[in-house]
């Protein structure tokens, strides 16, 4: 039977707690589906700074590259906030994304009718929402050269470069079009082509690829400022959103609010030989170690991992398990409402494990 090598990067804050529950659930579905898992746990982010003075040591990168998939809990926290740029937990995250060649960050957001009451929007505007952001993750202004600083006093300046090549745009656009074909067949490409040269290349490239290979998919283009508005006014108009690194960072976080909690939102960073799977939420240092964290985002990230590894039955079992536990009314504090049963991180992990 097949054995997958999984690198676990629990990281900081609630990371270790949600990773523990995910492993529990993953082991259970693996046994039922007849595959095995071999885990290696490594430090990342603040934990790696404490242990090795480096948020993503090369040895950790090598371990990740030698595995079939990487599960990341969360990185960062106030303890490391005083550190300079390259030494911060976040740099470790950027490094591992880049090193794995994970150029496409997939962020699905769904709001089942049962959770619509938790939304900051009116329930009727989000009930049944199902959108999917494909964010370019290893280019754009996050990595563009030159980056620099010069001058003194009031003339001192600093700069970053937002740059994309046709090749980078095409490969991530393909991911979006392919997902659209498996979903509701619509892509909204988001840019700022009325102002930025890099966005004009983005738009032209997406248009050409669409005409050449994906003309069966409906394609719209939207400016990022309008997209941020539409996300609040009428989010159900979206199926697949395709966008660059920083616009995707902002827009996917805006979309992440719609269900009322980040605690349910998984992500997958794919495109290279090894995928990276992490919840959308951060390390939540304020609730770390108290059994209050919602493990569902991490558990659903494991389901995305299993889809990527072609273990779709196991992925489906996990999703069904989470749905069942939610239907039964169990909730962590972030989602709890009158009438629900408050459950701890480990209780929720056990419930999903048994339901999956």
């Amino acid at each position: 039977s097949k054995t997958y090598k999984i690198t676990l990067l629990p990281g900081d804050g609630i990371g270790p707690e949600v990773i523990a529950e995910s492993v529990k659930v993953l082991d259970a579905v693996a046994e039922k589906s007849g595959f095995a898992l071999e885990y290696t746990t490594q430090n990342a982010g603040g934990a790696a700074i404490d242990a090795h003075n480096d948020p993503m040591p090369d040895s950790v990168v090598e371990t990740c590259k030698a595995s079939d998939a990487v599960l990341l809990g969360a990185v960062g926290g106030p303890k490391w906030d005083h550190l300079a740029g390259a030494l911060r937990p976040e740099s470790g995250l950027l490094k591992i994304r880049k090193e794995l060649g994970a150029f496409a960050n997939l962020r699905p957001v769904t709001v089942p009718a049962s959770l619509a009451e938790n939304s900051p929007l009116r329930p009727e505007a989000v009930s049944g929402l199902d959108l999917f952001t494909v964010r370019e993750l290893t280019g754009g202004i996050y990595f563009g050269e030159p980056i620099g600083e010069s001058g003194e006093g009031d003339d001192k300046k600093a700069w970053n470069t937002m740059v994309y090549s046709v090749g980078e745009i095409k490969r991530v656009a393909r991911v979006a079009f392919e997902w659209a074909r498996k979903r509701r067949n619509k892509v909204t490409s988001v840019d700022k082509a009325n102002v930025l040269a890099v966005s004009r290349l983005w738009r032209d490239t997406v248009k050409e690829l669409h005409e050449a290979e994906y003309s069966d998919v409906e394609l719209d283009h939207m400016y990022i400022d309008n997209a941020a508005m539409q996300m609040v006014i009428n989010p159900r108009q979206f199926d697949v959103i395709l966008t660059g690194n920083v616009f995707g960072d902002i827009l996917s976080d805006a979309s992440a609010t719609l269900g009322g909690s980040l605690g349910l939102l998984p992500s997958a960073s794919v495109g290279g030989p090894v995928g990276l799977f992490e919840p959308v939420h951060g390390s939540a240092p304020d609730i770390a170690g108290q059994g209050k964290a919602n493990p569902f985002a991490m558990i659903l990230s494991v389901a995305m991992m299993l889809d990527t590894l072609d273990e779709s039955a196991a992925a489906a079992a996990i999703r069904a398990g989470v749905d069942k536990v939610l239907d039964q009314g169990y909730r962590s504090g972030d989602l709890w409402r009158e009438g629900n049963t408050l459950a701890s991180t480990t209780e929720l992990g056990d419930l999903v494990k048994n339901a999956a």
Copy 2:
């Protein structure tokens, strides 16, 4: 008695209609307050492309510079969408902002209790909202050099530069701190300092200015992705938001959704010798020429102009007039709800004129 020279740039779509109502109201309050106005009307945006093949001819810029203030309706529309970058209506807008040295774009958003039902958010989350974005408007990635394109095929790439100097950051930060002192004394500076060098300079500069000159004002720093979330989850936490050009474009548009219509939102672009005042909404070509446009955003932009010209009594009269007409239940289509009285653009202008 004092006479102000006002350049009117009606522009495209509903621009001319809302400018006409604003002039009507402005004339009325001027008469009561004892000052006079001298208007010059010029083409801008698509109208200027049609007339002069240039979205902002130098002669128009000169007229604007020679006046005390500029009122802009709106620019753009599908008719000019096929044009290349520099020839588009939007370039005209960027040019006039830059030429006037209007480095601070002020975008207040208020949601009076009477309009909270129009919000896409739950009414209780936005009722009484009063936030104020100060967006840097003549720098950052909108104008940063180098801008370019090179290469062929898949290697073809295009880039823009996000650059700020300490001097640029300080001058716009001062505007934010000064506004905070007149309001609830809190500034939230929004950046992406965990990733971008330019944002780290932004954050350090804002911190230093705060310590040196504005330590009486409460100052927070927030990453742009989190700010986009907080804008949906809990917008009432904000008083003054200070941010760069593209982040401000996105975030202020997100904030503009909270009242349920762009039709009420004014803006002022100031900092240079002559201010530019325009509604947040666009040219709305789909309803142009039908008397359906909401003139309040433009009329309230006139109030911002009058504040800038130190005609505060006249500004207050306009705001009171708009409030009164809203209280009486008159609404354009964008805000109309059961129980309101639907009114046309000119009817609303007349009502405010009589109430102001």
